[in-house]
Symmetry: C2
Subunit: 116 residues, 2 copies
């Protein structure tokens, strides 16, 4: 199964994050201004092939805690490194979304946006 | 970017849905019994290549409503047809999860499980 980016995380500071949706997909944003919150699905692009094989981790990297399955954690190292974050939509400027609460890295490919 | 299934939706009736996590990934479930709710990410496998090009739809298929961008809807026809549903974890039996609330189809590949 192949996925392709619909956009990219352009900047991430503590207060605001900027998502660019590529022109080819910008029609998919029609009406998004009505949403207060969005779910952003993105590719955690800094995860290596080896990290995708990790199945158990110490929660929050805390070595005093026993290892748990990655599917019970928010660990970015997982078989399919798809990040999922609920953000607040602050503003839409053309095909740029300004949001709050996104914990992606700059340059993370955006895969999907859901609003419900 | 390539993704690969970690499991599959085995059955979907109105009351309960059954997810099989493949043996290769079952270590990733360790401790999941502690979770009441899970987010299931799955591949909406009945969506064709042409349907992945759809960017605007009538909300809920209601033709009296103007079209909206797919990123503002739950339409399964979207560039990356990744389904996202919050479910209640009823029971874990080995590498089978019995859940409630999953709106996938039987045979849908499961991509990730998140618990938070």
């Amino acid at each position: 199964m192949k996925i392709h980016p619909i956009g990219v995380v352009r900047s991430c500071n503590q207060d605001f994050q900027k998502i660019e949706i590529f022109e080819d997909f910008s029609k998919g944003l029609k009406g998004i201004e009505d949403s207060q919150h969005l779910w952003i699905l993105y590719w955690i692009h800094k995860i290596s092939r080896d990290q995708r094989k990790v199945l158990q981790v110490h929660p929050m990297g805390n070595l005093t805690q026993p290892k748990r399955g990655v599917f019970t954690t928010r660990s970015p190292a997982r078989p399919n490194p798809i990040g999922l974050t609920k953000v607040k939509l602050v503003k839409k400027e053309g095909n740029i979304l300004i949001v709050q609460g996104l914990d992606a890295f700059e340059g993370s490919p955006v895969l999907d946006i859901k609003s419900f």
